[in-house]
């Protein structure tokens, strides 16, 4: 299991992008807590949360705080931004675990 060492962010607020901020889990928290804002919350809110969480889990991160501000990003963009944020937050990425289409 890996942890986010320090707060870090990736992405932008441009249309089609998502700004992802990851931070270490707090206290007794034992999950990935996601705070999401999205223009397509009704249609894709659940899907976006799942993409963020699964991307983190496949990298061995199961506890973290995530703030995401979505501007209509596709799944592959969400994955790329989460992975970049994790790497910047001190999580050594496992190349073999990266999957773009899952």
């Amino acid at each position: 299991m890996k942890t986010v060492e320090k707060p870090a962010q990736a992405g932008t607020l441009e249309s089609g992008d998502i700004l992802v901020v990851v931070a270490p889990a707090t206290g007794a928290q034992d999950d990935i807590a996601i705070e999401l804002q999205s223009l397509v919350m009704a249609q894709y809110g659940d899907a976006i949360r799942e993409t963020i969480a699964s991307t983190m889990r496949t990298q061995g991160v199961t506890r973290a705080v995530v703030q995401a501000t979505d501007r209509g990003a596709l799944d592959c963009t969400i994955r790329a931004r989460v992975l970049t944020a994790l790497a910047r937050g001190g999580v050594g990425l496992e190349e073999g675990a990266i999957s773009w289409n899952a």
Binding site: L39, Q43, Y44, G72, D75
Partner: protein, 515 residues
């Protein structure tokens, strides 16, 4: 009950009456007569000038429950609706219906009057901003009636929409009630959407901040129908009325779509002498005119007319000799105003001539091509331009359904994905324009032709255009974005969407936030 598109409708609606279900774009024919307003007389030397709006309210007199109508030629620069409604509120009037041909963000003060019961009915062709938001949230007990621009003219002509008082914002007026839209600070060009109101309202009031000596010239709406003239300080904000120049989009995807739409027109064999055309002022729609212009020049053809909302771009095509005439129900920019004022080949027409289905022929019937937008389109080519994908009201037909019904080839241009949202769905949330009147969908990733038009499809395929099945395009979008979940909806009906013939094509239900 269900209408012919399978939409569930109530049998009757409080405040509206029996619902007549949509049966097909041309299935419902008229059986009634036009409704005439009372005769009147004005004696020599009588004075139509009234000191202020409050005095006009007393003279008419405006009473509880009346229907007051307005045009939307001032768009988001309108100052008349708010001033008139403020007087109504001050005088303690209740239960008014506002028949405003389109509602804009500037009309936000109406929300408070809806909450306090001054305004309890709204009849319009389009709305955006705080009023649309409040209506979506269920502020009114009675559903809003959405009409098309042509349908509004029809409804006024036959008395479905009986106007007690029409307040007509007048960029220029004389003291005997002659009006035009081309002079003064608030010049807006054509006054076409006010023509039916002026013709059929029981009482007509011209509201102006630009009183000219009698007789005004030119005259768009004449003294014969205007009962009172009121001068106020300011009827609108020119900045919100027109834009300086209308620019072609620089968005590369929009341009790609527009280029493909123009190729569809060419492949359909329509770039020829006599070509007639309507397009909107925004994004890919206007950009289509840019590519059509090149094709017309290259083929050395002269079109007959361009119709509808007129922009400087169409004016320059008129002036280059690419069209013989412009038929203008609404101008969008300063060039359109200059042209309609100075160029006799640029014609001002009313909403009835533009698009009413129940007269002896409207201008949209003579269109070869119209380019239209869409918020959603379904696999049966039904288009939604009323509600956003979250279920909130954010628009309305305007002339969408009218032009689609009239034109030989109706082309909807849209990004296959708007942000993440696929434009093509199984069933649009709110049907505005029926699929049988929509021929082609042009996206950046392919073109779909309505199966009702096999001969057109054949032409596009022969021309080498990227024609695909609409279901295939939908699948392509969902492969990229995933399939969207349908947004939750409330129960209460907040709006009825009336087709141009007076039947109900769909309803809008109250907005419900997702958990």
């Amino acid at each position: 009950m269900k209408n012919s598109l399978g939409r569930m409708l109530p049998e009757t609606v409080a405040g509206f009456g029996a619902v007549k279900p949509f049966a097909g774009a041309f299935a419902t024919t008229p059986s009634g007569v036009r409704k005439a307003p009372r005769q009147k007389t004005v004696l020599p030397k009588a004075n139509k000038l009234v000191d202020n709006l409050e005095e006009v309210f007393r003279r008419i007199p405006v009473r509880d429950g009346m229907t007051l109508s307005f045009h939307h030629h001032f768009r988001n620069g309108d100052g008349v609706v708010n001033q008139v409604l403020a007087v109504a509120a001050k005088l303690g009037l209740r239960d008014l219906t506002i028949a405003l041909s389109s509602v804009f963000p500037v009309h936000a003060p109406m929300v408070e009057l809806m909450k306090s019961g001054v305004v309890t009915g709204l009849d319009t062709d389009y709305m955006s901003g705080p009023v649309a938001e409040a209506v979506s949230q269920g502020v009114l007990a009675k559903p809003v009636i959405f009409r098309t621009h042509g349908g509004r003219a029809r409804a006024i002509e036959c008395g479905d929409l009986a106007v007690d008082v029409a307040f007509i914002a007048a960029p220029a007026a004389d003291d005997y009630g002659n009006i035009n839209g081309v002079q003064g600070e608030t010049a807006c060009g054509s006054l076409g959407y006010a023509f039916p109101d002026a013709e059929y309202a029981e009482v007509v009031v011209a509201v102006t901040d630009n009183l000219q000596p009698y007789p005004l010239h030119p005259i768009s709406i004449s003294q014969e129908r205007v009962d009172y003239v009121v001068v106020v300080d300011k009827i609108g904000d020119p900045k919100g009325i027109v834009s300086g120049t209308t620019q072609i989009t620089k968005d590369p995807v929009g341009l790609k779509i527009a280029a493909n739409a123009a190729k569809v027109i060419q492949a359909a064999g329509l770039i020829r002498d006599g070509f007639s055309f309507q397009t909107g002022a925004g994004g890919a729609s206007l950009a289509t005119a840019h590519f059509v212009r090149k094709m017309m020049k290259a083929a050395n053809v002269t079109g007959s007319f361009a119709l509808g909302g007129i922009t400087g771009y169409l004016v320059s095509m008129l002036e280059e000799g690419l069209f013989r005439n412009l038929i203008d129900v609404q101008g969008f920019d300063l060039e359109a105003i200059r042209s309609i004022r100075d160029n006799p080949r640029h014609l001002e027409v009313g909403a009835g001539m533009y698009a009413s289905p129940f007269n002896a022929g409207c201008a949209v019937n003579k269109l070869d091509v119209v380019i239209l937008g869409a918020t959603e389109i379904d696999t049966a080519f039904n288009v939604n331009v009323v509600t956003g994908s979250d279920g909130k009201i954010m628009g309305g037909s305007g002339g969408h359904s009218d032009a689609a019904a009239g034109a030989s080839v109706t082309i909807v241009v849209a990004n296959l994905l708007r942000g993440r949202l696929p434009i093509i769905v199984d069933n649009v949330l709110t049907v505005t324009t029926p699929g049988e009147t929509v021929d082609v969908l042009v996206t950046e990733r392919g073109i779909a032709v309505n199966p009702l038009r096999p001969e057109l499809k054949e032409k596009l395929v022969t021309a080498g255009l990227p024609v695909r099945d609409i279901a295939e395009l939908k699948a392509l979008a969902e492969k990229m974005a995933g399939a969207p979940k349908a947004p939750p909806q409330g129960e209460k009906i907040v709006a009825l969407v009336e087709y141009r013939d007076g039947t109900i094509i769909d309803v809008v239900r109250q907005y419900k936030a997702c958990e």
